[in-house]
């Protein structure tokens, strides 16, 4: 499903996750770009919207000397699915973040927008765009594979150019594949600086908030 798998020195990078989906390592190109963009900032603030991955916290902390805030949006989605309040998600996302607008240097959005309906995705994208500082960056992943498995993916950073994909159960499947135009509309306040279609069938996109004039 996810394309060519990289193997490490030991040749045993795959493990079995809770959902029996193999854990594998894949190349990433946009992550390095994000790191390059953030490395010039002293003590940048990085917002990670996925579940807590300890090794990622260590990686980004050591690479960037940054402040990292982990806000698990997947857990928010699951909670709304279980409470049958998905229609409240757009309003929830508009008030979700406590950071003041224009204070975040980088956002790791991963592929969470794939799991949202259009109004909720738009609300989240608008909230994230507002959080970013001018010249701040957002890394988004968007699946291009036709999959309807109810699994989230934890993206575990191995190094600047390699991620491990580790799946775990989700309360709802991916809703749809976002097209390039859809994604650009979602983040209409940001500019696409890089976009890579990976063999893992993930589109990696890096956005930057235009600097103030």
């Amino acid at each position: 499903m996810l394309g060519v798998r990289k193997t490490g020195e030991t040749g045993s990078v795959a493990e079995t996750s809770v959902t029996n989906v193999a854990e594998a390592a894949y190349a990433t190109k946009a992550l390095q770009k994000l790191l390059n963009n953030l490395q010039g900032n002293p003590n940048p603030l990085l917002l990670d919207l996925g579940p807590v991955v300890g090794s990622n916290v260590t990686f980004f902390g050591e690479q960037l000397g940054c402040r990292i805030r982990v806000e698990d949006i997947a857990a928010d989605i699951d909670r709304h699915v279980k409470n049958n309040t998905l229609d409240k998600l757009p309003e929830f996302f508009s008030k979700r973040f406590t950071e003041p607008a224009g204070t975040v240097d980088g956002i790791l959005c991963w592929d969470l927008l794939d799991f949202l309906d259009r109004p909720a995705a738009q609300s989240l994208a608008t909230a994230l765009s507002a959080l970013l500082k001018p010249d701040g960056c957002l890394l988004g992943f968007f699946s291009t594979a036709e999959t309807h498995h109810a699994v989230y993916t934890k993206y575990v950073v191995v190094d600047q150019s390699t991620l491990k994909y580790r799946t775990y159960p989700a309360a709802r499947p991916r809703q749809r594949n976002l097209l390039n135009g859809d994604i650009i509309k979602l983040f209409k306040d940001l500019r696409v600086t890089d976009s890579f279609l990976m063999k893992s069938k993930v589109r990696e996109m890096l956005f930057r908030k235009p600097a103030r004039r």
């Binding site: 300890g54 260590t58 279609l197």
Partner: protein, 187 residues
């Protein structure tokens, strides 16, 4: 040349200093000094039936299995929150190992280590942070002091040149070459 990580494996046990025991309420804490195999030095252990409300300070390594509400100040020493420990406090220490529950900000001058089943609800400020798989963490992490020196290095490198992606103990020059994947479709 070889610098041992004092927060994890101290080189030699310091002489015990009874006068510097943590200032727990009199008679409240059955404090016993006992060697802890994990860290290899004398440590004070606060038992799981002990509840401390207020400020806890000292200059010895400390393991807490009980409950502390308030503030813990062990600058220069290792604080271990045992599996039964429940802390609602702001913590200042050299290194903090969490196996129990912490609600509050954690400030460590060397390292914070949240082990499997450990839980932290609060902001962490430390140059080194390790969060194990299965640990719970909600809050922010500030590793500014560790990154300050490294932040200068990347600027001297070419933008697309591979940089060090692992902790210093694990240099990457032996890692496999990354396959060229992906097609750049936008700029």
């Amino acid at each position: 040349m070889w610098k041992r990580d004092e927060s994890v494996k101290p080189a030699a046990p310091p002489a015990p200093t009874p006068a510097a025991a943590p200032s727990a309420p009199a008679g409240a804490a059955p404090v016993v000094s006992e060697p802890r195999g994990q860290l290899g030095r004398d440590m004070v252990n606060i038992g799981k039936s002990v509840v401390i409300k207020g400020e806890l300070s000292g200059s010895e390594d400390l393991t807490i299995e009980g409950q502390v509400d308030g503030r813990i100040d062990l600058k220069g020493n290792v604080l271990t929150i045992g599996p039964n420990g429940k802390i609602k406090a702001e913590i200042f220490a050299k290194a903090v190992v969490v196996l129990g529950e912490v609600t509050g900000n954690v400030n460590a001058s060397e390292k914070v280590d949240i082990r499997d089943n450990g839980s932290v609800d609060g902001d962490i400020a430390s140059p080194r942070v390790a969060i194990a798989e299965g640990a719970h963490f909600r809050g922010s992490v500030d590793m500014q002091r560790a990154g300050a020196a490294k932040a200068q290095q990347p600027q001297a490198q070419k933008p697309n040149q591979p940089q060090q992606g692992q902790p210093p103990q694990q240099p990457q020059h032996n890692q496999p070459q990354v396959q060229q994947q992906g097609q750049r479709v936008g700029a």
